[in-house]
Amino acid sequence: MAQDKLKIGVYELTGCAGDALLIVDCEEELVPIFTAADIEVFLMAKSDNRHGDLDLALVEGSVSTEKEKEELLDIRRRSKIVVAFGNCACVGGIQAAFLDKKNWEKNLKKVYGNHDFSHSQPVQSKPIDAFVKVDYYLPGCPVGKEQFLSTFNRLLRGNPPELYRFPVCIECKWQENDCLLNKDILCLGPLTLGGCGSVCPDHNIPCFGCWGPTEEANLTSEYRLLLNKGFDVAAIKNRMANYSGTRIAEFFETFRKEKR
């Protein structure tokens, strides 16, 4: 029955739109997806978008303008469930890599000068849970197709998603890779959420942390370990900040205070 279908919106804030694209890329599942639910809003995939009340909102991207902040608050008001969809929405993404506010303002000035932001005032980029309550986090850069499909399906049936919570190392060992960190390569596998199938280490490329940190990411230990292996502070900080800026800002802040 058509009226029983869940009303769903797919929204894109600041990001590369890769997560929304991933849905469109689920070619064989597209018809089932659009049949199983009423996709009310999906700018990338359709033109008649209706911004009404929603059962489920998938929000991609981070908030980096005042306008996006308003849009996000509005989405939250209209939606029963909000899912942070992809790395930028979950932890801020590359655009949140600047660790302190002073640097961000300096860089904004450096790039834009005294430009008048008539369209919308920029703010330092932050994940969506800096502004609204998030029900579920679907990590990834972009999110994994398999994890998206099973999560989408569970949400349609009214079940909470079952997401992988283990680090990349688990899948890396499933693939029987030789540990890159043990070969003194700056690999963020132990800190980073798995689900990607350890694609980078499978090709002898270290993990860059693009799925964001695990809930228990032991930043202090890996940081000290890397220092011990001869990496300098800047190299470690840059790599760690790359994809998970706001999540690790606190760690580096404490560390800076300790040093003083």
């Binding site: 688990i170 060992k173 499933w174």
Partner: protein, 371 residues
Amino acid sequence: MRILKLQKKDFFPFLEVISKKAELWAPVAKQGGPPAETLPDPHWASLAKREKFSFERIQDFSKIAMNTTRTIIPPKKIMVPASFNMFHFDEKEYREDLSHVTNRILFGVHPCDIHGLLILDKLFSQAYSDPYYLEARKKTIILGLSCWPDEFCFCKSTHTDIIEEGYDLFFTNLESHFLVWIGSSRGDDLIRLAPDYFDERLTEKDIKTYINWQEERDNAFQTEINFTRLPDLMELKYKAPFWEEAGAACLACGSCSMVCPTCNCYNVVDKQFLGNRPGQRLRYWDSCTLTEYSEVAGGENFRGHKSQRLRLWYTHKLRAYVSKYGKPSCVGCGRCLVTCPVQIHAKSVADALEGHPVDAFWKKFAEEVSK
């Protein structure tokens, strides 16, 4: 039990004959890795220089690595793949999926890993036996192979350096020939496929060569752990501060469990799909060192801190299994020694339990942080 002699030149022809009966799997060298000279840390530099090995399907016998130490992952992966589908289901029925089970001959299994399988046999055939493991185990012929310890092997300490059961054939690799032990009627059947390659008459010289080899190997071990004391020490040092120190450094990456031949825990999740595609019940290797493992409904966690989970891991290996089966569930393969990035492993934990100086990153980390 019979012991036969096999000339080296007849080894490949023998494999040729038996590999017609089932898939042949054996250790092969893995590619990759940076030049070892670039590594500042001597512990990892010495390791990175070495080739790493993995049990793979063999098409070309010359690829078989005969003089290996441990593979990255033990042969448990053949019996229970890291991640596999248990069954397909829809709204009406379920269909079991045993596609990971095929007839295999697993060559090159070292005594420690055979002991590892014997331990898994016990764990997976209790009151509720595990059909997925047992089915694959039944269809896998085990051809053991002797080995030579490196500085991380300590199977002599766990008494798993020799093997009395759990294999179909066992090859002791001597300089000019193999001595082949027949451990089962299935192994005997393999010999009967090509009896001409084997010689039953062992000379005095052959026996002497074997004894000399065994004595030399016995003296080649460089790592020793006193396991008889460890169950008591696990009890006496249950609240020792070093658990906190190890827990603070632990990356909770779970690699120790993945590479351990006796770690057998797994998680089960259902994957459902849209449309008419049947669902899947996936089973994948899990680790008690991960936070989700001890979490229950409502979000409570029985072992919220890594130190508690590490202690559980070692309680299982060093104490609990001993109370039930009379020996530790550590087989001395050394995989945790070469895998844990912060060096929390059987040797450093045993040293800490004994009150000996601990030479490991996690100890150094504790000292650095306390400063």
